[in-house]
Assembly symmetry: C2
Homo-oligomer: 899 residues x 2
């Protein structure tokens, strides 16, 4: 009811802090005002009069009293902060006679008339609706006449003339003289502030931030204090601790003999707050005490505005300070150590999303940089490198010792080796969940996607970024946290994980019940994840293992095999490679579970694209159609060329036929996942054998490998039943061959709605479910992620058809409903069924809270997001406990406020 | 427990019909036999001995008695018929002495020895496991010695020699003489029949037909009767009514002085049963009486086997007769009129699927035909036409008065005008739900899809079907009910709907509670549907209306428009065309609801394909790269050609850019449905305006149009809220402009899982839900229909991973669960919410039963399936009533038997 500003002023007053006296008109009055067509009710008029009389008593000043005038500020104050959106009137109470009194009392006529002129201008603009520029015109004219450049140099005389012109302007525009009665001024100002709740920019702001229109604003009427009443006056802004580093000690700036506007105008350079100790030593001591008191009262770092009026300190505002991630972590831990807050509160004080800043290298903002363009901040971190336009080149250049940035229109699975080699990725197309973005995030590699201002000209090995031509080999930097692209090598700060960071995450581990695993496909990522605190691998994809340059030909020969025997030959060559992959990962995660997903993508992803082949075929046909190419060719050469083209055509035709046979209109819903395993069981057999042989090897070395085999894309229990039988058969074979015992849980991904809806059947064959919420979101919404983001989803988000991108934040109502159904049905038939989530949502805080609330066992996310997930899981657990410990609605509301 | 055959024999006996005496060993004995390792228990041996003694008393014959031997048959009889899968032994009881008694008693030594030799052979094969061919070898040898061609011509002497050789063979193979003790013979035979339950072909049969292995078989031991004991004997097979036409009167064949084998062997031609009236007048009268009695007892037409032994009639078997659709309808109606069954039973007697035969033209099977190949029976009906390979050609040829068959690899929406023009469609690729199949079924046009044996050679305007080269213009016929393809014009029978058919459907209408609507996109289909009894249009697609040759250019200019204004111009040209479409359909369905779905497919479906453009571009580039094409070209011509190619290249590049921009990796999950409406509201505005202007026009003509507007592919209530607002705004505009009142329900398709899961929200904005179960199946399973059928789904069905194609039969566990959730949640917030289904499942009987059980309001199917749906809806209602009127489990079982 008091709004944010009013509540904090009231609270400070109650705490005995020096606050300029005043009163708050509640949001309830705002409702009444709006309901009565924008008029103050008689009751309100009476109450305002009473409050003004009280104020006169407290301050010893008189509202409209020429000798000792009471001046007030009239400010908005909504329950949810809407900075700068609504109106304010300062210096209210000035008129032709009180201005003289003010001049006398302050012995500063220049200040008095400047205040009056500002008041008239503000009142004229906010209350009377006179265009701002008309006042500015008068001001500019007088400044020209006086030949001064800035307002501060205007003389008292000039200011008086301006006041006179302003009063004329008001009378001219409103056909009435400027109101001289302070009470009339006040009524108008209060009405205008109430009215500003409905001004267009406030309405739009509320729409954007989902603030209900029905809240309304309070109005704060507060006696004015002035920091410009001599050298014993001043004004300043301070934080009770450093908001950038979190270090203890008051941090801020102040100016003597100045008002807040002077600081903003930037005419005088403010001094560090520590210098107040010299300028106003007593006040400084009092101020430090107030800061301590505020921190103890609010149990958090405060952001404070204050004014000193002729040796008296006044607190104008206090609020919780915004802070960097580094500061947030340090302050939270310090406040616990100081006994001000509990560990749980400390955990809740740090937004998991903020941690991203601490985990990746960042652009050193102090270094001068040229921003060429801005794309989507697809994967955080900063990097520079020599520009290359091709994955093979990227790999080659890196082998030659160069650091490269891979620049592509978009990436495909065939570019994996290039992405792996590059220091960062920049693409012109694709959204936050495009291939490049997903893969880069998985690898913790900086990536900027969908950079519209980038055009690649592959034939000239060059591109244009913004207006800059960039050639292959030129150095460019990207900042994946903001999406910025820079020319040249921008200095980068490496992340340092502080002791406080580690402490906070330890506390998080004590609070959370949800396990945190990582998605990793190779030993390096697995080790990194483990270092970040991962308690296992929740998703080890096996397709990336097929993508390295030396394997693609073998994989292709497997796909192009004319018979099962031929295919098995190719698979036999892949077996030792896969076994090596699994050996490495299981070793890196020794003693922790590793969920390995058998091959998932459609086979055509490993072959050249249909488009490429069609174009090549047409080109060859056109040449062959018209072979008398160049008259100067010798006959022999012509024949040779013809033969070569004919041979290539035959090859292209063969490949095209196979690619066409495998081509799918909707590969997302096509021949992939366990559908591959059921039609080509020999592929899954090879993979299962590789897993178990690697396990046997490690067991024989005395280690404790814990593989779990995951069958992808199951929609019907029969699919899982058969694939499970296949995997178990191979396990038995390997166990017999190696003379060991093998225990390996087998489970499935839940990534199509049917799997969730029939979870009671599927759970009979599964020891675990891993919710693949990326695909589950695609099928539940009927959105192709590859297409939606570039096409309609941006429109949907921009026009608020959807409030969140469901690929970023788990859709609780739809996808979440399926997760809940599957959890409930699955556990009904198998109470110890292990449940996890391994989509991108596994590293997103709202989604993690959902997983906690639905009693999943773990979330799995990219290695770099493991600390974020640990903290988010702690948040979810603490919030649940708090929800459960309160039962009435009022208590619920308190919890919401404390978040 | 008695098995099918045993039960019917017992029932006939109880009804006082002349049945050769015998006894049944129950399936319970079979269980005991199998559990005890394939041995008869002592109890069983005792009981068998008792029953044989009873049989001896009843027949007055002795088991093993040389003077008057009792012979028995030993047959299997499973609870669910498995014809020919298990073993039988006839003439058991014959041995070296009883064969002499039989010869004496029948005065037919040839017959006696032939019976003995058959018995030894059958027993040797079935019981002793001696390879069949060894007996055949002996038989063949003797026939050669005797110089006779067929068994029937062997003399008594020759048969005696065969018997001797057979007995030697048995002793040689089993190292024991052939068992002479009838009781020993009987025990072995019973054991063999029990054992045959587990023979491989029976096991496979049960797997295929989902018959539980645990059922077991009964064994029927019955005294033998012989139809070959002279001219007062005979054997025959008869139906109590004509199974082909349903006409009253006994229908069948018989032979005097013959056994059943003789009829099967085909040596003698059987006589029509009516001739029995002359040959055996008394028996014939008795037989007609028995037929009447059987029909009255079973209240259905019977398929009867009988034998006359020396003037005594014996009934060997009776069962409900299989019948054609035509007969089924007539018989059902006649039996009601005769007071034998109720209307409800009559309805249940006709399988809705059978009606398909009656609704479409059919190949006249009597006409000699050459089958070239067989594909999938994609859309029933028969047609012939001149082969064309292109939709434009099809349209052109038909304009010129030809009847054509459109032959394509597969069809796309661009071929619609060709499909419309053609008499039938034949494709080499695509399954039962490919584009061609779906469109053809919708139009009731014969179609054969996925004909592997068809290869098209477009450059030579020819194709190969099987081994036959077929050129453009050659005549080919197809039978869409069986998938056969014929050379030449095969005569076709037009369907005739009998009076009984109409009566039966009237009764169906009285029984059913589910409404039946049709899917139709044009006035002709709508009228046809109405004639078939449709009570409205459940799905009027608007995209086909955009496909006609004269509209495609306008639609393309709408899509390629550079600005909203340009797009609106194109839409303005489309408006009167659309208005005409809706006028026609609403008029055809005057007084009945028509649910019109706004534009659904992605816009790129209306543009040339990406592949085509890529190939064309590559070709042009290759030519331009090498422009010195032909040395003989005059310079002017060369320049002209160059310029033309450059101009085309520019055009192709522009189009390619747009097609690429609209290209989607997974169009099924892409920018379509209401996603189009939200991004290009002007398209939906035009369509809404066309609907309401057509409605206004009809209202002004005094008719009663009942449009309902359906917003496709809604997944979130906000999508529907905005589209609803748009449609309502246009409705108000048109109402004002035309000075009329407009009431138009607005609803949505439920075709993505999220819509079903959040139906409580969506129902707040929807007056009706129409379940688009085609797309809902795609998203629930994660199957792309276009890809799945050609790729893994065939494997899935073949290997029984799935038992039914979910695109044909609604998947109750998954998709059905979503329908049930949506129905429940939707009706919870809006009790009068209208629910229907408009996928292909709307015409499938199991799916219709599901819709009835879940209290949907209507199903909507293709016009030709409307009668089928009416009958299936009646079935569902009757079955539900019957289920509800019985409550204990036993009663449930009775209902299952009566289906």
């Amino acid at each position: 009811m008091l709004g944010g500003k009013g509540a904090s002023l009231a609270e400070m007053t109650r705490a005995g802090l020096p606050v300029p006296p005043g009163f708050v008109i509640t949001t309830r009055a705002c409702h009444a005002f709006r309901e009565h067509g924008g008029a103050l009710l008689p009751d309100m008029v009476d109450e305002i009069a009473q409050e003004i009389r009280k104020l006169e008593r407290v301050t010893g000043k008189g509202f409209g009293a020429a000798d000792n005038p009471l001046l007030v500020s009239v400010r908005s104050g909504a329950p949810i902060s809407m900075p700068g959106m609504m109106d304010t009137v300062l210096n209210l109470g000035l008129n032709d006679s009180t201005v003289v009194g003010l001049a006398k009392k302050t012995a500063n006529a220049r200040f008095a008339y400047d205040s009056y002129r500002r008041f008239i201008q503000m009142f004229g603009d906010v209350v009377l609706g006179i265009p701002h520029y008309k006042f500015e015109q008068i001001l500019t004219d007088v400044k020209q006449q006086e030949n001064v450049a800035v307002d501060q140099h205007l003389t008292e005389d000039a200011l008086q003339r301006i006041v006179a012109s302003y009063l004329d302007l008001v009378e001219q525009e409103t056909e009435r003289p400027f109101p001289q009665d302070p009470i009339e001024q006040l009524h108008h100002a209060i009405g205008a502030v109430f009215g500003s709740w409905d001004n267009p920019r406030a309405v739009v702001y509320r729409q954007i931030h989902n603030i209900p229109d029905t809240l309304g604003t309070a109005v704060n009427v507060q006696s004015m204090v002035f920091g410009n009443m001599g050298e014993d006056s001043g004004t300043g802004v301070a934080f009770t601790r450093n908001p950038s580093t979190g270090e203890r000690g008051v941090f801020g700036e102040y100016l003597t003999n100045a008002q807040g506007e002077d600081v903003v105008a930037g005419i005088r350079t403010p001094k560090p707050i520590a210098e107040m100790a010299r300028d106003l030593p007593e006040i400084y001591e009092q101020f430090l005490g107030v800061c301590r008191q505020l921190e103890e009262h609010y149990r958090d770092v405060q952001d404070i505005e204050f004014t000193v009026e002729q040796g008296t300190l006044y607190m104008l505002q206090t609020r919780s300070a915004k802070r960097t991630a580094q500061a947030a972590v340090k302050i939270a831990v310090d406040l616990v150590n100081e006994g001000l807050i509990t560990r749980e509160t400390a955990l809740l004080r740090v937004d998991p999303d903020q941690l991203v800043q601490l985990l990746h290298p960042a652009i050193d903002e102090r270094a001068a940089t040229t921003t060429l363009a801005t794309g989507l901040p697809a994967s955080p971190g900063a990097a520079w490198g020599r520009v290359v336009f091709d994955a093979d080149d990227a790999a080659q250049w890196v082998k030659n010792g160069e650091q490269v940035l891979l620049v592509r229109t978009e990436t495909t699975p065939e570019d994996i080796h290039g992405i792996q080699a590059a220091a960062g990725i920049l693409t012109s197309r694709g959204g936050m969940t495009s291939h490049a973005a997903v893969v880069a995030r998985g690898m913790g590699k900086p990536c900027v996607c969908g950079c519209d201002a980038l055009t690649i000209d592959p034939s000239n090995r060059a591109c244009v970024i913004g207006h800059q031509v960039v050639k292959e080999g030129d150095i460019v930097s990207i900042d994946g946290a903001t999406g910025r692209v820079f020319l040249g090598a921008v200095p980068v700060r490496e992340p340092e994980l502080s002791e406080e960071f580690k402490t906070l995450l330890q506390w998080a581990d004590e609070s959370r019940t949800l396990n945190v695993r990582a998605n990793a496909d190779n030993p390096e990522d697995a080790s990194r994840a483990r270092a970040f605190g991962a308690e296992g691998i929740g998703l080890c994809r096996t397709e990336h293992m097929f993508m390295s340059a030396d394997r693609v030909p073998v994989v292709q020969s497997m796909i192009l095999a004319g018979s099962t025997a031929e295919r098995e030959q190719a698979l036999e060559r892949l077996l030792p490679m896969q076994q090596g992959d699994f050996y490495g990962i299981l070793k890196a995660m020794d003693g922790l579970p590793v969920t390995i997903r058998l091959l998932d993508p459609p086979l055509h992803e490993f072959l050249p694209s249909l488009e490429e082949l069609i174009a090549r075929r047409a080109t060859l046909l056109a040449y062959l159609d018209n072979p008398t190419a160049s008259d100067s060719d010798a006959d022999d050469a012509r024949v040779q060329r013809l033969n070569a083209e004919l041979a290539e055509l035959a090859e292209v035709e063969t490949l095209l036929a196979k690619v066409r046979a495998l081509h799918e209109l909707n590969p997302m819903l096509g021949h992939r996942g366990c559908r591959l395993g059921l039609t080509f069981p020999e592929i899954y057999e090879m993979q299962a054998r590789a897993i178990f042989q690697a396990t046997a090897q490690l067991l024989q070395e005395g280690l404790h490998p814990m593989p779990e085999v995951m069958i992808p894309l199951v929609g019907h229990v029969e699919e899982l039943r058969r694939m499970r039988a296949l995997v178990e058969r191979v396990a038995r074979q390997v166990a017999t061959e190696q003379g060991i015992e093998l225990h390996c849980p087998i489970g499935t991904m839940i990534e199509v709605p049917r799997a969730a809806l029939t979870a009671n059947e599927i759970a009979t064959e599964a020891e675990f479910f891993s919710f693949g919420t990326n695909d589950l979101t695609q099928t539940t919404f009927g959105y192709s992620r590859d297409d939606a983001e570039g096409k309609f989803l941006q429109t949907y988000l921009h026009e608020k058809v959807l409030l969140e991108n469901p690929f970023a934040v788990l859709d609780v109502d739809g996808v979440g409903a399926l997760v809940a159904i599957a959890a409930e049905k699955g556990r009904h038939v198998r109470p110890n069924l292990k449940l996890g989530i391994c989509g991108e949502h596994g590293g997103e805080k709202h989604s993690i809270a959902f997983c906690h609330d639905n009693q999943l066992n773990y979330v799995s996310c990219s290695p770099f997001r493991v600390p974020i997930a640990r903290l988010a899981a702690a948040h979810a657990a603490i919030q649940q406990t708090r929800r459960e410990s309160v039962s009435d609605e009022g208590a619920m509301a308190r919890v919401v406020l404390s978040r």
